[in-house]
Symmetry: C2
């Protein structure tokens, strides 16, 4: 049931991106943008669409595409040789491997811009106040007080004398993955100009559970199924939730967070079933 | 007189950026953002401020900072080894030379985000419809139908069998530098919700004149005064306005364009003096 919902969101996102890129000239940078936004779990798009549905909004395609574009930009740049230096992403060569580094820099740049263009387009919402609110919060989530801050803390950790503490890892992940997940979950309330607080509480717990699950998968996951390298963190002696809490400790922390996330949704009653399913999926997933 | 105006714009931009970066934590990526936005002619900020002044708007600091942040992002990424591979910018080591490539990628990414954050901040304009209009047009100017398209055409030209024709170079530059200059010049009309047409015509001529002047300076300019490498285009056998029109032909084309730009401003009468001065400066500059 949840998997159908995720599949449905993914199909709508794929069709949306196809329509967007068809408007552009056929250049390597555009091909790279289409390639980089293809595939993926579409969890962020799903969160946008489900939080919108709770508020009675059926069409949230533009903000869903926007967050997937921003997410894809961050992956393309993360994978660069000067960053994480990854050759594989979603089982396929990374953009700089398939094309070249210059193209990958430009593809990421253009995907970030596209994210803002989509969320600001009149198709996103009839009220420009809603569009500017969505775009401003997206900029804050993506920028130097959100995702980029998490990235910067991650880079700083690589050269630090000591491994990070639990609080430091939480702060890092809160920026690196938490900020975009929070924006996605809040988007529905923003579209409806409703209170975001329950969704913020949901997303804060979910984002952390998501990252703990990622660290667990980096230890227990199957490289072929995940379509990317695993075990890299342990190889580098990097502190992770697993190294700090142990495998069982990390698992039970993630489970508690998922319960917390679900409780935060109680104001929405059974309209929140899709978001509850998403939270349960986050720790059950194998990829 | 014009130089005073430009200096005044530059001082306001410097003070504005200092205030913005003081809010952020002291990490290399933030230092790099401050470093990359320091210096420069501030021509784009000046165009924003002067086009606003024509419409009776005295405070256009936020959109001026926004366009300078976007411009700085494009320079940081352009200078990367995988792009133009430049060691010097404004007489100082480029960001990837002073820090490292990963930091430079992140600095450019964060500066792009900052550009949108600034233009969308309530301080920019009280009306969210104006802010979302400014941000959407900025995204279009910066993205894969504007600046990134110009970049992509530039990369494609490097590996093309034949040098570009004049029309192709005009299309390339229209994206690469023209789009941000156009947005800057139009910003004042957008802030005032007034007709942008005269400013668009001004900016289209000015942007092209600016790029022709750049090509002329790449041949006649002094490396020490310019603070960056010169003669690179000729060394690479790249088609430029000078290689296609000859030095005298390029100069007279630029002069004609500047006259065209000034004529487009006639609806504004003598309120447009600042923009007229800017157009004359563009072909008189030595750096």
């Amino acid at each position: 049931m949840f998997k159908d919902g995720l599949k449905d969101a993914a199909a709508r996102v794929d069709a949306g991106f196809a329509e967007v890129f068809a408007r552009y000239p056929d250049l390597p940078v555009i091909q790279g943008m289409a390639y980089a936004t293809n595939g993926g779990k579409r969890l962020r798009a799903y969160l946008v669409m489900e939080s919108a549905r709770i508020h009675g909004i059926e069409n949230a395609l533009m903000p869903a595409l926007a967050i997937e574009a921003i997410h894809a930009y961050s992956l393309v740049h993360d994978d660069l040789p000067s960053m994480d230096d990854d050759d594989l992403r979603r089982g396929l060569p990374t953009v700089h491997k398939k094309w070249d580094e210059g193209t990958a820099v430009l593809v990421g740049d253009a995907l970030q811009t596209l994210g803002f263009e989509l969320v600001l387009s009149p198709e996103c919402h009839a009220d420009p106040a809603v569009r500017s609110d969505l775009a401003l919060t997206l900029a804050r989530a993506a920028g130097a007080q959100g995702m980029v801050l998490g990235q910067a803390l991650d880079i700083a950790a690589e050269t630090a004398d000591q491994p990070l503490t639990l609080d430091e890892i939480i702060a890092l992940q809160n920026g690196k993955t938490g900020a975009l997940i929070r924006w996605s979950a809040e988007a529905g309330a923003r579209l409806a100009q409703a209170d975001t607080a329950p969704l913020t509480a949901y997303a804060d717990a979910l984002g952390l559970a998501f990252q703990i699950a990622d660290d667990i998968l980096d230890v227990t996951g199957d490289e072929a199924a995940m379509g990317k390298a695993v075990g890299k963190d342990a190889d580098r002696g990097k502190a992770t939730f697993v190294s700090l809490l142990g495998l069982d400790g990390a698992k039970s922390r993630a489970e508690n967070l998922v319960e917390q996330a679900c409780e935060a949704l109680s104001p929405y009653g059974n309209k929140a079933q899709g978001l509850i399913d998403a939270a349960r999926f986050v720790i059950a997933r194998q990829t």
